[in-house]
């Protein structure tokens, strides 16, 4: 299947390994990945900070870049959540009904990675190997905006060598929330402290999730405190194989 990758501005700029892993994983499963270089950002930061008008050009860019593809994947529940739930809404708010209907149509063909793998590609066992003790944080937008449910866990359970440990209070927000982490940094930190306490309590070496943004937040805290626990995106675990497939 030909699959367009929306890598997200965050992964493109700061976590290229997540995009590389998504590419490697899908190619290993026999699919053709395309990366339209005209892509930039979904505009969620603008929308969620109140700058909806400034988000419009980004929404238009997303739609124009991806509407020629049948299937688009992004390694982020949050960005896909914004594409699905905000793009058409913002376009409508500024009276651009044509952009709204185009955005709606592209959004329906845009999938978060675990949704793509299970719902579109019909696979739970991607043939990965990852010999580590791992705990999974279901990011809020994956969980409550996209309703990915236990799809990421089903994928992780099929990973050879992986010791999956349940995260207590998993469904509670890590405190990231985009610009919330800066605007209300103290409250965000208090939420992060509880998330880190739960992660550390599992004795996992790795905390994984489907969003680089939440992982950047949790990982930033774990790193600051020198906990020795690292954050790894779900795509990077699923891309890892016994013959060193994780070393792209």
């Amino acid at each position: 299947m030909r699959i367009a990758l929306f890598v997200t501005c965050l992964a493109d700029t700061l976590f290229p390994g997540v995009g590389q892993a998504t590419t490697a994983l899908l190619e290993r499963l026999g699919h053709q990945v395309e990366f339209p270089e005209a892509q930039t950002c979904c505009g969620q930061m603008h929308v969620n900070t109140g700058y909806q008008r400034d988000a419009l050009p980004l929404i238009r860019r997303y739609v124009e870049t991806f509407e020629r593809y049948d299937v688009v994947v992004a390694p982020s529940g949050s960005c896909v959540g914004s594409i699905r739930h905000q793009h058409a809404m913002v376009a409508r708010r500024y009276g651009d009904t044509r952009l709204a209907s185009r955005a709606q149509s592209v959004a329906e063909r845009t999938f978060e990675l675990s949704q793509l793998l299970i719902d579109v590609l019909g696979t739970e066992d991607v043939g990965a190997f990852y010999p580590h003790r791992v705990t999974y944080h279901p990011t809020c937008h994956s969980l409550r905006l996209l309703r990915v449910g236990d799809r990421p866990l089903r994928l992780l359970r099929h990973v050879a060598g992986l010791d999956l440990v349940e995260l207590p209070d998993a469904d509670v927000c890590c405190g990231f929330g985009g610009t919330f982490a800066v605007k209300n940094a103290d409250t965000s930190t208090a939420m992060l402290a509880d998330k880190m306490r739960n992660v550390l309590g599992t004795r996992a070496e790795v905390c994984t999730a489907g969003d680089s943004s939440c992982l950047m937040h949790i990982g930033g805290g774990l790193s600051r405190l020198r906990t020795g626990v690292r954050t790894v995106h779900l795509a990077e675990i699923l891309a890892s194989t016994r013959d060193g497939g994780g070393a792209w």
């Binding site: 493109d12 290229p16 590419t23 700058y51 400034d54 708010r93 409550r144 982490a181 103290d186």
Partner: protein, 501 residues
């Protein structure tokens, strides 16, 4: 009828809808400081953190179990949402129907444009009875308008009779939760308040909950038996018969609603529901969502005046205080569906950590963060829509399906648009956002910015970035920042020799 209840149709254009908002200088809808500042203080209060964490975790677990018992919970939520939407759609008609029914059954209806007018009406009504005291049923709306202060200024003492409200009143404190207004207090603190403030208390009082409750019961019983005026809010008002409904757990409400000669009830105009079957839906949704009970212990229903039984004089005050402004806002309108169950507070990770006082308004938590700015105008509660990580737990818990996260995002947009319209110079944030939009609207500019951002690598120590300049310094106070990689994804893609598209 003096209240404007216009409902313009069509999408909300950028630019705020205009209708009178709740006036400044009266009531408790505005805090004295931004959320961020108040939250910082609350976060440092370890007793508060412990009290709140324990209480909300307990009620979250109970609520989840109570909701899980009902196979048709989602259908009930939808029915509740639909009933409220219908009531809001034809609010003018339902309110006039309510007024006609209450009047026909011996009650008197008063329309109050705002908090000041409501306080004046109620003060006048209490004075007319010749009493200088009134007993109160727990009521959010009387807290909203600052009724106790207004009565005190007129020489009238209002006694709170709900146990938690009594604790708040005796402690010269403010409520911090809809349902559990003293959730920020533990039993040791409550014992101290009772010993200090309750004149008739046993000096040997322990902090055993039954002992504390008994002390309050003895204290309150005397008030119930002597009071000539009762003051209440309502949970629901059924338009078709003019019947009012108060649900509660302690029986103090029943006392206040039946023993005094005069009953004065105040309700926000959004409390009206069309029919009794609608009430049936809400009486299932509310207890499970708020106290995690199948049914609340006391449900009081009354219709006007019943000769020879209960209060012989009954007044109903219908309060606007910014509700029409919220109603006129097609997106914001759904916040008026709120039945004050507090489920969203209990599941909110922000509320759990900062408590209710940080929100400034008498309406805290996720719903308060949307309701308060809608009632006062966004500029008067500008920090509240940002007091959320948009995690969405509130939306899932809401028994009438208010999409609180979307409302928060919408109110942030209203705030930004109003600020941009009224301030001549754009703020630093607005400049940054506009610049980011300009850069990211074009892939060449975006790639150039990525290259420039790589200079951040020079700041890293041992693979970590420990300090960023403001405003990102707020991030690096507690978290490391990722070091920009040597190569962006798009550079890697090109170099990997994969297809260009």
């Amino acid at each position: 009828m003096t209240t404007f209840l216009g409902m313009p149709d069509g999408p909300d254009p950028p630019g705020a809808p205009t209708a009178p908002t709740a006036p400044r200088g009266v009531g408790h809808l505005r805090g004295g400081e931004p959320f961020k500042i108040a939250a910082r203080r609350a976060l440092a209060d370890s007793q508060l953190r412990r009290n709140l964490g324990k209480a909300t975790a307990h009620i979250r677990t109970k609520r989840a179990a109570a909701v899980a018992e009902l196979p048709d919970w989602e259908e009930l939520r939808e029915a509740g949402r639909a009933a409220k939407a219908e009531a809001m759609r034809h609010l003018d008609g339902y309110l006039e129907q309510l007024e006609a029914q209450v009047t026909a059954r011996g009650g008197t209806v008063h329309w109050a444009r705002d908090a000041a007018e409501a306080n004046q009406i109620i003060t006048r009504l209490v004075r007319a009875t010749g009493s200088a005291e009134a007993v109160k049923v727990k009521s959010m709306v009387t807290d909203e308008i600052g009724l106790n202060d207004a009565l005190a200024a007129a020489g009238i003492t209002a006694y709170e009779t709900d146990l938690a409200e009594l604790i708040v009143q005796l402690g010269h404190d403010k409520p911090s939760h809809f349902l559990v207004p003293a959730i920020h207090r533990n039993r040791a603190e409550i014992r101290e308040i009772f010993l200090r403030e309750m004149g008739d208390v046993d000096p040997g009082l322990t902090d055993n909950p039954p002992a504390l409750t008994e002390a309050a019961r003895l204290h309150l019983r005397r008030l119930f038996l002597s009071a000539r005026v009762g003051i209440s809010g309502v949970n629901f008002a059924v338009a078709e018969t003019g019947t009012l409904c108060v649900v509660e757990s302690e029986g103090n409400g029943r006392m206040c609603l039946t023993l005094p000669q005069t009953l004065i009830t105040i309700m926000g105009i959004e409390k009206v529901v069309p029919t009794w079957p609608d009430l049936g839906v809400f009486l299932q949704l509310l207890p499970r969502s708020s106290t995690a009970e199948r049914m609340n212990p006391y449900t009081s229903l009354w219709t006007g005046v019943t000769p020879g039984d209960g209060p012989q004089e009954f007044h109903l005050v219908l309060l606007d205080n910014g509700r029409t402004a919220a109603l006129a806002d097609q997106t914001g309108r759904q916040a008026l569906h709120c039945i004050r169950c507090s489920a969203c507070l209990n599941v909110c990770p922000v509320y759990e950590r900062v408590g209710g006082h940080a929100y400034g308004s008498v309406y805290p938590g996720p719903i308060g963060a949307v309701l308060s700015p809608l009632l006062t105008g966004v500029e008067d509660n500008a920090s509240l829509p940002y007091a959320s990580s948009l995690c969405g737990a509130c939306y899932d818990a809401c028994p009438v399906k208010i999409d609180i996260p979307s409302l928060l995002v919408y109110l942030r947009a209203r705030h930004v648009e109003e600020a941009q319209r009224t301030h001549r110079l754009p703020r630093a944030e607005a400049v940054t956002m506009a610049a980011a939009s300009w850069v990211m609207a074009d892939p060449r500019r975006y790639a150039a910015a990525q290259r420039a951002g790589r200079s951040g690598r020079a700041l890293s120590r041992g693979g970590r970035l420990r300090a960023l300049p403001p405003p990102l310094s707020a991030w690096t106070r507690a978290r490391d920042a990722p070091v920009p990689p040597a190569q962006t994804f798009r550079q890697w893609w090109r170099e990997s020799g994969r297809r260009r598209s």
